[in-house]
């Protein structure tokens, strides 16, 4: 249990990388790093597909990246009806690390551009859910 707290609404409660949620609560957005071969993963995974090791460490994601692409949802799936419009985007940090998340509400929609510099931060919802979001660099 524990992963049910992740995101606006979680669809799964049990995972071996549940520590990700605890780290979010500490203000950290972390991926996993294979102690054996050094492969980095985001989103985090508990098993290394490169060398089959399950001995993983946590590493902090880079603070700055480039907004690769985005979309603004005007309709939402079941369970998210109160949220639209909301913008979701992909951030490219280089070195093969990318991240998908919502864009913070304090960025005006007309200011969101492909190629802009962005950062990421953790986010707590009023109902206790915890997540991360994309912010201006």
């Amino acid at each position: 249990m524990g992963f049910e707290k992740f995101g606006r609404k979680s669809f799964t409660a049990v995972t071996k990388v549940v520590k990700f949620v605890d780290l979010l609560a500490e203000g950290k957005i972390d991926g996993t790093l294979c102690k054996k071969c050094g492969a980095k993963f985001f989103p985090p995974r508990s098993d290394c597909a490169t060398c089959f090791s399950k001995d993983m460490d946590w590493f902090d994601m880079p603070k700055k990246g480039t907004l690769e692409t985005f979309t603004t949802a005007y309709y939402a799936p079941f369970g998210f009806e109160k949220d639209p419009p909301y913008t979701m985007a992909v951030v490219d940090f280089g070195d093969g690390l990318k991240l998908f998340a919502r864009v913070a509400k304090d960025i005006k929609l007309e200011d969101v551009k492909v190629g802009m510099d962005v950062g990421v931060r953790t986010l707590s919802y009023e109902d206790g859910q915890i997540s991360f979001e994309i912010v201006k660099a």
């Binding site: 995972t15 985001f42 690769e68 692409t69 079941f78 998908f100 492909v114």
Partner: protein
């Protein structure tokens, strides 16, 4: 070209909103047409494969139930799922069963009854076709995923909203003449004009994707009957041979995707494999069905299939090259956009269209010039699964 496995019968139900019957009755509609087309009976069939996206049906493990209703017991039956490309995957499995020598005639039947749940529930299920652990918690849905690709194409490849609109105008023009299509109405450019208060296609769904950029959900079924060389020659006057099959998969998570302005990687990989197996190039294809769940998806497919260079798919629609009379006609049956997209039935329906084109039996949708080679491109999820199948006479 290899002539080992042929299509000897094709069938498709009408694609409709709210089919008034159960899934077994829906499947029977396509099956009946395909069996009558092939001129065979159930005793000639040695196995069946059923294809759909689960979670739309109350029925668990539908293959056994459908096999019984279609009269295909006690032969073995299997269930295959790759969401929107389920029936292309089913045909690959059927092809493999025949190539392996285990079976001589295989029925592949795709079906989907989407209308039993609400549109919001449907979007939620489709969103869960993506990564439920890391992405669905942000409120993702299919249009939003494809919009990520559309946005990158607009920013980096000079794609415009008018280009996407023009894909829909083309599809609608053929949906009007396809009696099996769910969306039979015509679409005009002013339907996309935000200054027009009656513009029914202009509203944003997941920007930059608008209402008119999205395909029509539908209920429907398709059926493809495959046979080995001996049975094809015995049963069929016009067998259409499977020349090449390619399939690929890609990371489900957007964070693991390569450059969004370069389209769906599964399209390129599946196409390269299918072309190699068939011993042809993109130039040899005379008619194609591509997976246009959204207008951007058709434009990306032009590039993935090699009909246009990378980033230049827009030129084909600007030049009307993918119209019926053009250099490479694409989706002249209305495509997913107007014919409709009953998920599990879609690949088989695309194949039916190509088989009819190669036989010269496509009626008002027939492309000129007696096409001899046709291609089907069918994608599952947001480029999670890709399938390309090439057919020849």
């Amino acid at each position: 070209m290899e002539k080992d496995v042929a299509v000897i019968g094709v069938g498709q139900s009408s694609f409709v909103r709210g089919y008034e019957g159960s899934i077994r009755e829906l499947a029977f509609e396509a099956f009946r047409e395909a069996m009558q087309d092939a001129g065979i009976t159930q005793k000639d069939v040695s196995a069946s494969v059923f294809c759909s996206a689960p979670e739309y049906d109350k029925q668990r493990s539908p293959a056994g139930v459908l096999a019984e209703y279609l009269g295909l017991i006690p032969q073995p039956t299997f269930y295959i799922e790759t969401v929107c490309s389920s029936s292309s995957s089913g045909v690959k499995v059927g092809y493999s069963m025949i190539k392996a020598g285990l079976h001589d005639v295989v029925v592949v039947c795709g079906f989907q009854k989407m209308s039993e749940i609400t549109s919001a529930e449907s979007q939620e299920r489709m969103g869960r076709g993506a990564d439920i652990q890391w992405e669905a918690p942000f409120g993702t849905m299919m249009p939003a995923y494809y919009a990520l690709y559309a946005q990158a194409y607009m920013a980096k490849n000079g794609l415009t909203h008018d280009d996407m609109r023009d894909v829909r105008l083309k599809s609608a023009s053929y949906g009007m003449v396809n009696e099996r299509a769910v969306y039979r109405k015509g679409v005009k450019a002013e339907d996309f004009d935000p200054k027009n208060p009656d513009a029914k296609m202009a509203g944003p769904v997941a920007w930059p994707i608008r209402v008119g950029d999205a395909c029509a959900n539908a209920d429907g079924s398709s059926c493809i009957i495959l046979a080995n060389k001996e049975k094809a020659k015995a049963f069929s006057k016009k067998p259409i041979w499977i020349m090449g099959i390619g399939a690929a998969s890609e990371a489900v998570n957007m964070a693991a995707r390569p450059d969004f302005s370069q389209g769906l990687s599964v399209g390129y990989k599946a196409a390269a494999e299918a072309y190699k197996m068939a011993g042809i190039t993109a130039k040899d294809v005379k008619v194609a069905e591509v997976h246009d769940c959204f207008t951007i998806a058709e434009l990306m497919a032009y590039e993935g299939l090699g009909f246009a260079p990378m980033g230049e798919g827009k030129q084909l629609i600007r030049e009307k090259a993918t119209y019926k009379e053009g250099r490479i006609p694409v989706n002249v049956d209305g495509g997913l956009l107007s014919k409709g997209h009953p998920i599990g039935a879609t690949g088989g329906s695309q194949m039916r269209t190509i088989v009819l084109q190669l036989r010269g039996e496509a009626g008002p949708m027939q492309v000129p010039g007696d096409p001899g080679i046709g291609l089907v491109h069918n994608v599952g999820g947001v480029g999670l699964y890709g399938n390309v199948t090439i057919f020849g006479r």
